[in-house]
Symmetry: C2
Amino acid sequence: MLQAAQNAPLLAGLEAGGTNFNCVVARDPHRILASARFSTLKPQHTLTEVLAFFRDASETLGPLGTMGIASFGPVDNNPASPDYGRILNTPKFDWVQVHLLDWFREKLGIPVRLDTDVNGAALAEQRLGAARGIDNFIYVTVGTGIGAGIVMGGQLINGFTHTEIGHMRMSRDGERDPFAGCCPFHGDCLEGLACGPALEQRWQRPGTELPPSHPAWELQADYLAQMCANLTYCYAPERIIIGGGVMQNAFLFPLVRERVQQLLNGYGPAPALAHPDSYIVPPALGGVSGQLGALLLAQQQLHGNSPAA
Amino acid sequence: MLQAAQNAPLLAGLEAGGTNFNCVVARDPHRILASARFSTLKPQHTLTEVLAFFRDASETLGPLGTMGIASFGPVDNNPASPDYGRILNTPKFDWVQVHLLDWFREKLGIPVRLDTDVNGAALAEQRLGAARGIDNFIYVTVGTGIGAGIVMGGQLINGFTHTEIGHMRMSRDGERDPFAGCCPFHGDCLEGLACGPALEQRWQRPGTELPPSHPAWELQADYLAQMCANLTYCYAPERIIIGGGVMQNAFLFPLVRERVQQLLNGYGPAPALAHPDSYIVPPALGGVSGQLGALLLAQQQLHGNSPAA
């Protein structure tokens, strides 16, 4: 096994996040051989730094076989599309139309596979984390934005393009929560009401400064519970994993679980009703699921697996 | 082709609906050889009538090869489950725990495949109707209840069990719509606000008596548009087909399409934004999609295809 890993080709993994670009090199995801982190600035600047890292790693460790990218979105993640690997109309305006996949494929001269950051993280939690042995689950991140990687029957689900669950409609009681939401497209959609920046704008200070007893958290749990109820009815998953910066506040989990049970009111699939504590859980891989997912994408590219596998 | 069809085994199809049980017999779904409709009354009564029909048909036309059932829910539609084919906690209390699949398998002595009525209808629209050539679409019924069959990458999507999109949360403005909803579990979820009985209870008369200019329809379109927006963000489908009794009011389609565009506000997958008229459409098969779907399930059982294929 170790022998096989030593002879396995080197994999380049890039988690292209809205805040940082995390780079890793490994022969297998359990053993990272080199890593680096760069702030997400202007594309030309950040991409040049990332490229230099991978070129250096290649000189030290040997030639890279394939690359995987787990990218912030929206991004074209459909391998059959002519724009596969291109960033679409993100609010990070400098990055709109940047063709991440082509850029690295040309500069590094190796095959590249790309998917969303949340699909990458879902893949990592499935293979190495909180969804091992589970065929139907959802990985949600609640941070700067809100998005999900959805696995049904063991396969990542994509439609015409990737999902954007952060933009589902919410029920908002204007008296309880007069904050109109911060989504530039929809105002008070899920992301507009419950992402990290929404929390900060509503309460006029960062979430890290809000104590667990602050009413902010009951409200936050309510929106996240609405999300979980909708995901429960729309997918019937066996587990919902919620990660991202906002969920570092671990006291949110019992609040969300309790409110979800109230919303479901006894009606729903068995995993949601019978085992609330193992139904809504934090990620097992914490902050490294994205970069591990990128390595798994590189591995899929190497072995020619279906992008959805 | 005709020769092949003449020699093909006879298929029994049963659409087990909340109002009627529709029975069909055919060698191929394009040519129904016998059909009958029975009201959904007490299980023993209705099932006996259905059984008699299929036994008579078998005597006249020849032995039945396989049976497909497209059933109202909730029902266990997971072939790997010990309860596969059993009706679960439906508000139609007489039918709770009725094991539809086992009953017909034992009485008719043939293999039986069962799925939800909406999964059956989605299958029929995919093979014979409004979703031919489309890999990612959703079939929704808006009638006595609200439910969906979801096809992604050409495959029906099921989680731990089938989805129940009718129970997603809605944004309801209490001043505009003081009706608290009729869902026995959730009150004002999608189904509680927008199914046929909700329409009737809110306005104190059947939908058929409400003229197109009545404010009922703007409100109805708003809830259905919220549903479509949520489905758009949760699945990124290429098409949403909406059928069921309530959608017989064809003037709803332009109202829903217009409101969906307002809710998406320019943000979403290309099929939703660029082609609203072909994005949200009525079924091509009208009221027969369920029974055709049942025949397709029987055909899958015959050929040993995956239940999700």
